[in-house]
């Protein structure tokens, strides 16, 4: 004689199409749920990796510099704001500083770029300190500059590919008509450095006539230091502004939060629809088996037996839907990743959706719990059926 699980399974098989559609609905809800959990986890991790790849936690720029830089970028015009190079020496004395690196960014308008010209950017760096902060940068060809003020450049992977440059080739700095020799081409890093043309910052100072000037200083603080407190200290330096990577991270997170709320709302709606679907399926099933349940009770089945039977059917549907949905989310992970990338205002590099076993177990647990909750009402209605009334009735009726 079959147990409750066997009877529940047989009951579900009696209306296969309805059961399959219900399971499919639950599976879709689970897919959304698992993907959402995976996104929360993956996005955070990828964003942290991108921020870590910047190599420094605090960026010090000349006051107003980013505004001017944006203007320059968008319109190809006027100058950036600068800070004196001497600031590097004064920062070195701060006990909070582990390492720091000076940078000088310059952009020029190249009339020969495209039909209407375009902006070309150069990042002046210190070959002694910058590579230490960007330890992930590896060379495809060549190496860093031979001297601190050499007329040499290192190109990021994509920049070199676009310009078809190799070690030994030359590049021309538009407007200045100065030739610079390529001494290194970096391997693909998956970061913004792939599209960058690096020069020694002393060379950039020399080419653009900016002796002793910098646009920014990247600061890596000691691990034990309270970054927020140190940032407050840095704010006391006149005419500079502090951009904390933690703030940048928060800004990106805020940008993404709207999309996240939207996805969460869709997930909740999907789960509610699935819940209603489950209740509907089980209620229909109970209604159709009104007489049958009455006979079962007249043959000795207790209220608890009927309640467990109906409840078990609900759980089976939800469990099957949960497992299929989790499998779908794992198989279609890349599709979900692409869709999220399309929606989001900014997506970090790396996988945006990270699905692991713990996450799958948690999602299935939630779906089964929802099933348990959804199954209470139909199970109670079934358990309350009176045998005599049920056997007498022509049609299933409550």
């Amino acid at each position: 004689m079959p147990g409750i699980s066997g009877i529940a399974y047989k009951n579900l098989r009696r209306k296969r199409l309805r059961s399959v559609l219900t399971v499919f609905g639950i599976a879709l809800s689970t897919w959304v749920l698992v993907s959402l959990f995976g996104f929360n986890k993956g996005y955070e991790a990828s964003l942290n990796k991108d921020i870590d790849n910047l190599g420094f936690q605090v960026l010090l720029t000349a006051k107003g510099c980013p505004y001017e830089a944006a203007t320059l970028m968008l319109q190809g015009g006027k100058g950036l704001r600068y800070m004196p190079e001497g600031i590097v020496d004064s920062l070195k004395t701060n006990p909070e500083v582990d390492e720091l690196t000076p940078m000088l960014m310059q952009t020029v308008f190249d009339v020969n770029k495209g039909e209407e010209g375009g902006v070309v950017g150069y990042l002046g760096i210190d070959p002694q300190t910058y590579p230490k902060m960007k330890t992930y940068l590896k060379f495809n060809q060549g190496n860093w500059f031979t001297q601190n003020d050499a007329m040499e450049a290192v190109m990021g992977y994509e920049a070199a590919e676009l310009e078809q440059r190799e070690v030994g080739d030359m590049i021309l700095i538009p407007e200045k008509e100065i030739e610079v020799k390529i001494v290194g081409v970096l391997k693909r890093s998956g970061t913004q450095d792939d599209g960058t043309i690096f020069l020694p910052y002393k060379t950039v100072q020399q080419i653009f006539g900016l002796p002793g000037q910098l646009t920014s200083v990247g600061i890596k603080v000691n691990k034990s230091v309270d970054i927020t407190a140190y940032e407050e200290e840095l704010y006391k330096i006149p005419d500079v502004q502090v951009v904390s990577m933690a703030q940048v991270k928060n800004t990106i997170s805020n940008l993404v939060s709207t999309a996240r709320v939207m996805v969460m709302s869709i997930a909740i709606i999907a789960i509610l629809i699935a819940m209603v679907g489950v209740i509907n399926t089980i209620l229909m099933s109970v209604l159709e088996r009104y007489q049958e349940i009455g006979i079962m009770k007249s043959m000795g089945a207790t209220t608890a037996h009927i309640f467990r039977l109906i409840w078990f059917e609900t759980i089976m549907l939800c469990f099957a839907g949960g497992v299929i949905g989790s499998a779908m989310s794992a198989v279609l992970g890349k599709v979900t990743d692409s869709v999220i990338r399309y929606i989001l205002p900014y997506a970090p590099t790396g996988s945006l959706v990270r699905i692991d076993l713990a996450l799958v177990v948690r999602a299935i647990g939630i779906i089964v719990a929802i099933g348990l909750f959804s199954g209470i009402y139909p199970a109670l209605r079934a358990a309350r059926i009176r045998p005599i009334e049920a056997i007498r009735s022509a049609d299933g009726e409550f």
Partner: protein, 200 residues
């Protein structure tokens, strides 16, 4: 908040600056209309040496060009974008661009061709040169109008010497090496069009 957003834009700048790769027209609708003023539409197709004939075809192309293919933009699987330009249902011609290594950076050499393979127009979509204005001048680019692959057959792209009409074109910038790179780019473009489309 605003300055943080702008900072974000700043850190993404290099990516934005380097976003365009391959050799597609930057603004196909506008560019095709400019090159074929009477056109009413165009169709795009993607071709590669690997798909069209593989290694044997590459050898044929290299022989016709008189030079080996090398570098990122000259591998067998590089996709070439070809624009078929129409006036209603009549084929007016083609627009095809190739990447070519230049003296100071990559060149993008675009040709507008008639259905028989004659050059109707030539321009640089991208050029890094001290003599950019000279190379882009119509006095130089118009000299290629009316030429076809046959005119480049005897042209040695490494020296610029030969006996055809193409060899008669002078370097507009003295000894600037970008002249030879341009000749190579144009000849490569015509050779590829010949194997992909004209099959002469």
């Amino acid at each position: 908040m605003k300055h943080k957003l702008i900072f974000l834009l700043l850190i993404l700048l290099p990516i934005l600056l380097s976003a365009a790769t391959g050799c597609d027209l930057q603004d196909p609708d506008k560019d095709v209309k400019r090159l074929f003023p009477g056109s009413t539409g165009f169709k795009t197709s993607y071709l590669s040496v690997a798909k069209s004939g593989g290694k044997a075809l590459l050898t044929r192309i290299e022989t016709a060009l008189g030079d080996k293919f090398s570098g990122t933009y000259e591998t067998m699987d590089v996709p070439y974008t070809l624009y078929h330009v129409y006036k209603n249902k009549t084929l007016l011609g083609y627009v095809h661009g190739v990447n070519q290594k230049g003296q100071y950076g990559g060149l993008q050499v675009f040709l507008a061709l008639d259905p028989g393979g004659k050059i109707l127009g030539f321009y640089y979509q991208k050029l890094s040169s001290k003599n950019g204005a000279k190379f882009k001048s119509t006095a130089f680019t118009n000299q290629f109008v009316g030429l076809s692959l046959a005119d480049f057959k005897t042209l040695d792209i490494k020296t610029g010497k030969g006996s055809g009409r193409a060899a008669a074109i002078k370097n507009p910038a003295g000894t600037d090496k970008d002249f030879l790179f341009t000749l190579r780019g144009i000849k490569k473009n015509l050779v590829l069009m010949n194997v992909f489309i004209y099959k002469k």
